[in-house]
């Protein structure tokens, strides 16, 4: 019984649910504000994403007559549920060590593509040619960025497991880093860390990889036909996904807490964790987005195949040799 309560708490309130939503909206607002300042604009207030959601919630939902209504309504809900569950299994160094037995890299490999699948379902169900284009673009890009993701997961697992074999449990990976220092500063893991940092804009579709939802090309692709609360759910999905990928990278690369112990230390560690997420956000999303434009689908695909995957594979190879 307590297990179920604990899991429900994790999914609905902390670290998933409300906490992930609030953090995501805050990160999104910061991203927009900083991007605006980088482009010498004033930019929206920090709470603009919240206002956007409230506005969309009051709007009418329009569903194209040719769309598959069930799939059309299901897609955003599926995506949001998926990311909320994923957020719930993300451990936070010094604050939360994850739901027992759930924080596993293999499970993450299944959970992480759910938002992309939600978008694909949306693109397919909306019966618009732009949605279909967005669908195929999302799928192509997913194939491209999953490869380096899996390779860097394996690199981390092999490195952490050492001679005893590979370790796939997130809490164990964090424990290793508490003892041996962050993997970010491990020269062997540096290429994989870079690959992981490049994975973030890939999966978030920012900067070079704003391909599936490219506004001037496919008019936001899968989201084109969405309006009102359903679109708001997609926006929420996107902000929680941002939290998930940032927290994942933090957990794999630098989860070390600021102070040890409980009480006020937990709050300090939480603030420290949010700071790390912010820094990562600035590097991998905001500045990346400000400094680049969008690649064509084929160019984006080959970017991951040519540069990102080999980086992760180098780390994997080195980790194997140094076991």
């Amino acid at each position: 019984m307590t297990d179920i309560l604990e899991a429900a708490f994790a999914i609905l309130i902390f670290p998933g649910g409300l906490f992930a939503l609030a953090l995501g909206l805050f990160l999104k607002g910061t991203d927009r504000k900083v991007l605006a300042r980088l482009q010498r604009r004033v930019g929206p207030p920090l709470y603009q994403p919240v206002l956007d959601i409230i506005k969309l919630m009051t709007k009418e939902t329009l569903i194209p007559s040719t769309a598959n209504e069930v799939a059309f309504r299901l897609a955003p809900v599926l995506g949001l549920t998926g990311v909320l569950v994923t957020a719930a299994v993300m451990p936070i160094g010094g604050v939360w060590s994850g739901v027992n037995g759930l924080g596993d890299l293999l499970i993450l490999l299944y959970l992480l593509p759910i938002p992309a699948m939600g978008l694909m379902l949306a693109g397919g169900a909306s019966s618009s040619p732009y949605g279909a284009l967005g669908f195929s673009r999302e799928m192509c890009l997913m194939f491209a960025y999953e490869m380096p993701l899996i390779a860097s997961f394996l690199a981390v697992a092999v490195r952490v497991g050492g001679a005893t074999g590979s370790l796939l449990s997130l809490p164990a990976i964090m424990d290793y880093q508490f003892q041996h220092g962050p993997l970010l500063f491990d020269p062997v893991m540096l290429p994989a860390a870079l690959a992981l940092i490049l994975f973030i804009p890939g999966t978030m579709g920012s900067g070079l990889f704003d391909i599936p939802e490219a506004e001037p090309e496919v008019i936001e692709g899968p989201l084109l036909e969405y309006s009102g609360p359903l679109l708001a759910v997609f926006h929420l999905m996107s902000v929680v996904k941002l939290v998930v990928v940032l927290e994942l990278a933090v957990a794999l690369l630098c989860p070390n807490p600021l102070v040890a112990g409980g009480g006020a230390g937990v709050l300090a560690n939480l603030a420290w964790h949010i700071c790390k997420c912010l820094v990562l956000l600035m590097v991998s999303v905001t500045c990346f987005r400000a400094a680049t434009g969008r690649l064509r689908l084929d160019q984006g695909f080959s970017f991951f195949v040519k540069y990102t995957s080999p980086l992760a594979l180098v780390s994997l190879g080195l980790a194997f040799m140094l076991r």
């Binding site: 980088l38 482009q39 010498r40 604009r41 040619p129 732009y130 279909a132 284009l133 195929s136 673009r137 900067g207 070079l208 704003d210 391909i211 490219a214 506004e215 001037p216 090309e217 496919v218 008019i219 400000a290 400094a291 680049t292 434009g293 969008r294 690649l295 064509r296 689908l297 084929d298 160019q299």
Partner: protein, 362 residues
């Protein structure tokens, strides 16, 4: 059509298009197989309106054909009227017209390359280009009192003079603009993303450019050195020192760079005009009646050759006023440029001819 192709409707309302136009595109995967263009969404009946208004009212009307070349239209119209009635425009007014035209050309070209950066998703560069364009907008507002429609041209000359206060201000804005324009050119020339996205797409060969009789920067980027300012000089262009920019690559990238180089040339032209401009009247107070007959005039608008035909039967309204705009010549060439391109490049290629739909459909 086989089942592997499907129709991608682009327009008439589409975020990548500034103005309504419809492309019926057959797509196979991400590759464009055929393109049909359909126009007529912003037809306002301006040529019919022009026949119901007198010669003076038509100056105001033609200024409102389109906002980005809003000086070229009234200017060319006035030239046609002056050709018909034999009015001699004072020398100072000729210089003033050239200045207004070139100021608009800089702003128009910067707008186009800015939009190109936006279409590649490089919004920081878009903001940067628009910020630089803002210098020219300030110049327009300071000198003519308006950011888009300058209201400078009237039959027989110009409305406003550039005096001791506005002249140095305009010169100051140009001094401010020049280094930033050079910097922007470097960014567009060397930025890896812009190069990756825009080089080698939307190709228009020299032969194809000749066949479609394209005009303006589209023609010049394909190696056709056709510029009305040199081929059929008007106003004071023969007295001015500038170079017609050409390129041989004929792709989207070369067209953008060519526009930026032309903007630099325009800065040069305005500076010369401010230096050489003689003293004197800027228009003729008493205008003779417009005699029966017909006349043409052409000029180089930012998008290419603009052509006006005027026929008069001696009344105070034109019997017929017709104009041919550069986009009309250029958009047929889109069929060639869009052939077998990627869906992602459609917007970039269409933008590279700098289409002005409201000019074309009027």
């Amino acid at each position: 059509m086989t089942s592997t192709t499907y129709t991608l409707p682009v327009g008439p309302l589409h975020v990548a298009l500034e103005e309504p136009m419809y492309f019926d595109i057959q797509v196979e995967g991400e590759t464009v197989r055929s393109v049909e263009l359909a126009a007529g969404h912003v037809h306002r009946g301006m040529e019919a309106l022009a026949m119901q208004r007198n010669y003076f009212q038509n100056v105001t009307l033609t200024e409102r054909v389109c906002s980005l070349c809003s000086n070229s239209h009234p200017c060319t119209y006035c030239m046609a009227v002056e050709n018909l009635s034999g009015i001699l425009v004072p020398q100072r007014a000729q210089y003033l017209r050239v200045i207004a035209d070139e100021v608009k050309r800089i702003a128009s070209h910067l707008f186009n390359v800015g939009i190109m950066a936006h279409l590649t998703g490089f919004d920081s560069l878009f903001m940067h280009a628009m910020e630089i364009r803002e210098i020219m907008q300030d110049a327009k507002e300071g000198v003519y009192g308006n950011r888009m429609n300058l209201g400078q041209c009237i039959i027989s000359g110009c409305r406003r003079d550039i005096d001791d206060s506005t002249g140095p201000f305009l010169l100051g804005q140009l001094e401010l603009l020049k280094p930033q324009l050079d910097e922007l050119y470097g960014v567009f020339e060397r930025d890896p993303l812009i190069r990756t996205r825009t080089r080698g797409i939307g190709l228009l060969s020299f032969e194809a450019a000749k066949r479609h009789a394209v005009v303006g920067p589209v023609a010049r980027a394909s190696g056709v050195a056709y510029d009305v300012r040199r081929k059929a000089p008007y106003a004071v262009y023969p007295d001015l020192d500038f170079e017609v920019q050409t390129d041989t690559k004929g792709d989207v990238h070369s067209r953008a760079l060519l526009r930026l180089r032309e903007a630099v040339e325009s800065v040069k032209i305005i500076k010369q005009c401010l230096r050489q401009m003689p003293e004197g009247p800027i228009n003729i107070k008493a205008i003779p009646p417009i005699p029966p007959g017909e006349a043409v005039a052409r000029s180089e608008a930012p998008r290419g050759e603009l052509f006006y035909y005027l026929r008069s039967d001696g009344k105070d309204t034109p019997q017929r006023l017709k104009w041919r705009v550069p986009t009309y010549m250029n958009w047929e060439a889109l069929q060639d440029m869009l052939a077998n391109c990627q869906v992602a490049d459609i917007a970039l290629i269409v933008n590279s001819i700098d289409p002005c739909i409201s000019c074309t459909e009027r």
